[in-house]
Symmetry: C2
Subunit: 353 residues, 2 copies
């Protein structure tokens, strides 16, 4: 039994893994593999439709003018597609770390990009607050959760401009008023599925560029028109995303998974805070329920800690290469028992050394 704390791609529900493997061998008792049939076959079109409608249902955005698209290229391609599709003159971004910074770099190619605030001064340990929101802009952009630093936004200040949010690492993990957002995007490989699919949920009314003015693959309107099949989609990744969203729906949706995530976070941060050995990286007020980042105060115990982790079957705890230390990623599919296994090792190290 492994405890999988990987930051992404990351743990998925075991029943999803098993159903995915089974579909690779024989999809829907067709005698053919999921990965060797036409994406325009009736069976796969049903998968795509279900994935789209589950995404909207779970976010509470059905029949509210939003479309759900399963695209390719990850959040990184969205960093470019968002400004391509929404820029007229200027946009405003909040810089909360590496992924925000990359999104800002791409926006700067397209036009005037205001950085409303940044927490770079303290290694992105906190979420800036009280910043000014410029008026007369095309959109405001946030990154809701910062995997590398372990911070998460609680509030999303907005203007009258469309609100765009990169939710790659915390979508479907907590209730929010999702209607406050006009465009949400997320790489699948955290709470939604395997790498290779990107969810884009967009309010159609904000897409005002002339149709056909962008390269088709970079144009949300072309993907909407093609019902997320403008070209061959990433079949396997969409299928496994559908299975994962269906699993979440059967758990009772976000309303039921959020308290579980809060309990995992409580146990994890309590262990960090009561320990003399470990220290949290992010400011307590902005801590993420998805990624707990921390350091070991006594470097001479590093080898011993790593050995204990290995013995306990704990995987994927290394911090991002840019900040080091440790990172416990606690996505939807991670059971509380895995967090307890980790906090037990931390407690043991503190007592026995």
């Amino acid at each position: 039994m492994k405890h999988n704390f990987s930051a992404g791609p990351c743990i998925l529900p075991r029943e999803v893994i098993e159903r995915a493997a089974s579909a690779v061998l024989d999809f829907n008792e067709s005698g053919l593999s999921l990965i060797e049939i036409s994406h325009r076959s009736k069976d796969f079109v049903a998968v795509m439709d279900k994935a789209q409608s589950l995404a909207l249902k779970l976010l509470g955005l059905e029949n509210k003018g939003y479309k759900a698209l399963f695209l390719q290229g990850g959040a990184s391609l969205q960093f470019a597609m968002v400004p391509m599709n929404l820029f007229q003159r200027s946009a405003a971004y909040l810089d909360t770390g590496t992924w925000s910074t990359k999104a800002i770099e791409e926006a700067k190619r397209m036009g005037t990009t205001h950085v409303m605030a940044t927490s770079a001064d303290q290694g992105y340990r906190y979420i800036p607050e009280g910043f000014d929101l410029p008026q007369g802009i095309d959109y405001v952009h946030y990154t809701s959760n910062n995997t590398i630093y372990g911070t998460q936004m609680a509030r999303f200040p907005k203007t009258d401009a469309p609100l765009v949010c990169d939710m790659s690492s915390d979508i479907f993990s907590r209730q929010l008023d999702f209607e406050q957002f006009d465009l949400i995007y997320a790489g699948a490989q955290k709470n939604m599925g395997p790498a290779g699919a990107t969810l884009v949920v967009v309010k159609e009314s904000i897409l005002k560029k002339e149709k056909g003015s962008l390269p088709a693959m970079l144009d949300y309107q072309a993907h909407i028109k093609g019902e997320s099949m403008y070209n061959t989609p990433s079949v396997f990744a969409v299928y496994v995303s559908m299975l994962t969203l269906d699993w979440l729906d059967r758990q009772g949706g976000i309303a039921q998974i959020e308290p579980k995530n809060r309990e995992k976070g409580r146990v994890m941060y309590e262990a960090i805070d009561k320990s003399e050995l470990f220290e949290g990286y992010a400011h307590a007020k902005d801590r993420s329920l998805m990624n707990a980042t921390f350091n070991l105060n006594r470097p001479e115990l590093t080898d011993r800690f790593n050995e204990l982790l290995r013995e306990a079957g704990i995987e994927g705890l290394a911090g991002h290469r840019s900040v080091g230390g440790y990172r416990a990623s606690m996505y939807n599919a991670l059971p509380l028992s895995s967090v307890q296994a980790l906090t037990e090792v931390m407690g043991y190290l503190e007592q026995k050394g």
Copy 2:
């Protein structure tokens, strides 16, 4: 037992399907699924490295200044990326059907795009020949195989400009002097793997744009620098592509698969030509070994033919929705016995009606 003639996504070797399913359950005996580990883990980096080196090896392009990249977005995104990366002033395209036409549309956004010739006048049943190649252009673009119409290029006229080829539907199926090309791209979902990965093989010396002048995800130089991991790649699709390339390599590579493809094509086209009931769509001289397109001359037999196909377990034979009729796709993994099963049904229909 199904005979899978799907045009793509399409049949893959059974051992590849089985190994893929097994890795979804437990990858390399790690106790974790392939789809829930970091793409930067040692085991997956080895997969990416092997996929890249196998692609170059099979094409005979090792140590010749080429890089192999596994990107996302399919050939459709390459239609835009090729001009973005290579355009300075003008380019020349040959129009051999729908996919060429889409590539031309994207190029026209970037600059002067010469269409050297088109076979639209006869529904793309043939490959134009004897056309003029403009001089002083940035690149020449071909589509080597046209799945929809069942035509395939035998020769690739070139100038002193870089030669670009969309080989989505016939890469790894026949020996060519691949060194004549400076950039080859191919969606994985025919001879290489499942949907969700796109192979780009590019000669580095043709990339002359200033580094960082394009959105990173659309910049071949950024992907080369990131060793095809600028961002999270499509892990499952890359893994299955690696397995398929490894399977081909163990078969003896393209040199050994080509005669098998020729034999399948011979049997298929002989059945079409000797029959009064069926008629080939493409001109005989330009017929594709990958996709044989044909029509049934007596429409009143359509239901009977479809019934016989169903009884024989023959799948995926419908022609593309834009041309109708039938299309037998005979990619590398399709056994000769499947072609024989189809030609038997065709012969039976002719004799018994």
